[in-house]
């Protein structure tokens, strides 16, 4: 809204008969400064920030991949080097194969449990949901460590017990294999399919199924013709996301893929990022990963936007629970099995190791110690610092990300400015960039002189903000959507400016939504590894990287202790979120 700037309105004060005209109208001639459109300046400022956070790193990634490291000239040499070796190409196909297998296993985990939680009278449904959530919020690299303790071929608990019991000479399970890799991946990523599918099941009105029944379709026919087609888009959407997340996950392959002799893309990238550093080749090597992600997310959008999904995205109606009868407990046993594999077993042995002098000795009073905690918290200078750094970075990126996203979402939702859609697009764009690829982009754009942010927390914070900006934006946008614009107009017509409206009405009303969004960013940011791995400097390490270093040093007890501390923090924060926002606050997904 442009302020009035006519010469003759210096007597604007007399507009109102009321005694207390709002101060602004008294001021007479409207000053030059207020003729500027502050909203346009804000747009420019936000656009500039988003260019720094999103546009520059991505374009720098692409440019770098075509740049000769020494001459700076255009070249395709990086691609030749990246994909010239059969081994490097094999890693890409290995990765795709691993992603596909992870999806299959995730479906096996997620869909039955989702159905049981949403549509049946299985006992312990809340417990089941919390367990699934637990598997999701725990860092995947800690799950991998837990599984190494469980299923290392010789010393793993499962194998030792197996050999003890049966006298067998061969181990029962081996985590250092393709399927071990897939199991640990799926343990963390199946949650997305679970959420999507549960939501879809909950959205199906029983009347839709009743309608089929009344027309003569039996239970199975109804399931096949009505229920399944209705949840199919949700399952597919979740499966695609699972695939994308698993092919870009760093922590699990870092621990398992080398011993499993199964080279994957992220490990190849970290080889390029070794010394001598070949950022250009790493950039070139990561471009296909980026393209695959963009293509599959496009496909996912297409699937979700088809008619099938709108049918389930409507208001959930009355739902009839399926009575499982004698299958109630077997169903629960399956849920328990999934929860044991994905959460309880690995984290139980991890926490046990944290309290052990030697993790292989297991339960014994003589083996019990708090020394590991004392050491990682107070003596190991890096781990304490890294813990503080991770929490601060998580908090900072959540806060800044939310504020930034809130500004953009406000402009977009209130249609304050033309071109706001561009800002929204930029906020959502990082969603298509795998964390590790984003890190290469940030490295290429900002690590080296002239910007020279390498080894600073600033670089990490920028990358984290960008990484989680889509979450921040969808949380903010849905929050603002829920506030009727008239709430603000009421402030303005009574004499308050737009800022007053935001401060007195919008902000208080958004408190809960924003707190939820903040936690949704903090939880993954505090444990983020993929984005951090190439951006940490000698003095700026985060807890995930220190944990990985510890695994390299073989200090599994210390690792377990530090990991347990991290878990306690994460669980506490999530519990706080559940307290404030209800059990399902992490289960709602906009994307």
């Amino acid at each position: 809204m442009r302020p009035l700037a006519l010469a003759e309105d210096s007597s604007m004060t007399s507009i109102s008969s009321s005694q207390e005209a709002v101060s602004g109208t008294r001021s007479g001639r409207i000053s030059l400064a207020s003729r500027f459109q502050p909203a346009s300046l804000l747009w420019l400022a936000l656009a500039a920030v988003l260019v720094v956070l999103v546009v520059a790193p991505i374009s720098q990634l692409v440019i770098t991949s075509f740049t000769h490291p020494d001459t700076g000239a255009f070249t395709l040499q990086n691609y030749v080097e990246a994909y010239g070796r059969p081994r490097h190409v094999a890693a890409l196909f290995n990765t795709l194969k691993m992603g596909a297998a992870t999806v299959v296993l995730s479906l096996i985990f997620a869909v039955p449990v989702a159905w049981a939680c949403a549509r049946t009278d299985m006992p312990g449904r809340t417990f089941a949901r919390l367990a699934m959530l637990g598997a999701f919020i725990t860092p995947p690299y800690l799950g991998a460590v837990g599984w190494i303790l469980l299923a290392g071929p010789n010393a793993g608990w499962i194998n030792r017990i197996w050999i003890e019991l049966t006298g067998a000479t061969e181990p029962l399970v081996n985590i250092f294999t393709f399927w071990g890799l897939v199991l640990v991946m799926a343990s963390n990523t199946f949650f997305l399919i679970f959420v999507f599918t549960t939501t879809a099941f909950e959205m199906i009105n029983s009347e839709m199924e009743d309608a089929a029944n009344i027309l003569g379709a039996g239970t199975w026919k109804t399931a096949a013709k009505i229920t399944f087609p209705l949840i199919m888009p949700a399952i597919l959407g979740g499966a695609l996301l699972t695939f994308l997340i698993s092919i870009a996950l760093f922590g699990v392959p870092a621990l398992l893929s080398i011993p499993a002799r199964y080279p994957v893309v992220v490990m190849q990238l970290s080889e390029f990022f070794g010394f001598p550093l070949r950022v250009e080749v790493a950039a070139a090597y990561s471009i296909p990963l980026l393209l695959i992600t963009v293509a599959l997310l496009g496909l996912q959008r297409l699937i979700l936007s088809r008619r099938g999904y709108t049918a389930v995205s409507g208001k959930g109606g009355e739902r009839r629970m399926v009575k499982l009868g004698k299958w109630r407990w077997p169903m629960f046993a399956y849920v328990l099995l999934v929860a044991a594999i994905t959460l309880f077993l690995p984290f139980f042995v991890l926490i046990m190791a944290a309290f052990s002098k030697v993790w292989t000795s297991g339960f014994a009073l003589s083996n019990l110690t708090l020394r590991n905690f004392g050491y990682v918290l107070f003596e190991h200078s890096t781990s304490q610092k890294a813990l503080i750094a991770s929490i601060s970075l998580g908090a900072a990126s959540a806060t800044i990300g939310i504020l930034l996203a809130l500004g953009v979402a406000y402009i977009v939702q209130r249609k304050l400015l033309p071109g706001a859609g561009v800002l929204a697009f930029l906020c959502l764009a990082p969603f298509v960039i795998p964390g590790i690829v984003l890190a290469i982009g940030f490295y290429a754009a900002y690590a080296l002189p002239p910007v020279a942010l390498y080894g600073t927390y600033t670089l990490l914070a920028l990358a984290f903000i960008t990484r989680f900006l889509p979450i921040a934006f969808s949380a903010s946008a849905s929050g603002i959507r829920s506030i009727h614009p008239e709430m603000e107009e009421a402030v303005r017509i009574l004499g308050g400016g737009r800022l007053t409206a935001v401060r007195r009405v919008v902000a208080p009303l958004l408190q809960r939504t924003l707190a939820g969004g903040w936690l949704l960013i903090f939880v993954p940011a505090a444990q983020e590894l993929s984005t951090a791995i190439f951006l940490v400097g000698p003095t700026t390490r985060v807890v995930s990287v220190v944990l990985l270093d510890m695994s390299e040093e073989g200090r599994l007890e210390l690792l377990a202790a530090l990991g347990t501390v991290l878990l306690v923090i994460i669980v506490a924060v999530v519990a706080l979120g559940i307290r404030i926002m209800g059990r399902d606050f992490m289960l709602r997904r906009e994307l």
């Binding site: 009035l4 008969s17 207390e20 709002v22 017509i493 009574l494 208080p508």
Partner: protein, 355 residues
Amino acid sequence: MTGLALRGLGRRFGTVEAVKDVDLELKEGEFVSLLGPSGCGKTTTLRMIAGFIEPNAGTIELGGKVISSPSASLPPEKRGMSMIFQSYAIWPNMTVFENVAFGLKLRRLGREEIRRRVGEILDIVQLGDLADRYPAELSGGQQQRVALARAVVIRPAVLLLDEPLSNLDANLREEMRFEIRRMHDELKITTVYVTHDQSEAMVTSDRIAVMNKGRIEQVDPPVELYMRPRTRFVASFIGRTNFLEAKRERDVLVFDGFSVPVSALAIPLADGNAVTVSVRPHALDLSAQQPAANGRIVLEGKIARRAFLGDTWNYLFAPAGNGAALIVSAAPHKVIEDGAPAWLTIDPGQLVPIA
């Protein structure tokens, strides 16, 4: 002098002309409704008055000063107006008292002054006991009253209401109409009221501006509007009506089956050969026996269809010959059988020629 004037006001959205050439003047203390179907431009007009939308053409003046023009507009917060929104827009994070006091606090009034004035207005809207409640604890009608109190407590130069009653149930809506009018009689605030409900507009307004397709078709007091609609749209939008086509032959209008001298019409006739007149179903009289003419027109025919609506009969009268069938309202005791012969009496003074 706080009169409000819209002059040649226009607003385009893309290629759509939402509001076009709107001229309207409100005297100080006048209550005018903008009435029309959805999409007629009434809300856009209201929001231009409020300052939420800038005009593409024309000006809005308040007290003789331009507050909106295509080149510059005073932002809403500097207009000294207030508004009641369709959604009420009661702030859920503030109590009733805080909601109502908000505008006064922005005006930096003293604590005591605020307390006194909020108390007064809450008594007027009968919410004195609920000052400390939060909006979520109030009924729809009570929320409406909070919105009303919040809007008028600042003694705005102009009060704007945007379909304020559309979210209430029927009984409450009827009650609130009178409430709004009573409030206006008490406080005499210049008011613009947007609604698509003609009876709301009738009860509350000094004058009604009927809008259609972005233009104002007619501005008149409610009775005048009903009795003497100027356009086909106004005639059909305000109440029900019959349209009759006629040809002008010098000083006489020739209808199918009867003719009327031009001088007998309700309002003077403009030039032109083909004429349409509107006649209300209530203005027609139906009888089972042939009545005496007494200078009125009597047509013979029969009942083509009938329906009992509870408080009236609704008859469709088909005149003998080629004439168009007419809808007639009759009191419940006036019973004529379906298909029976009947006579229709028309008072020429009730015939309103329309543009």
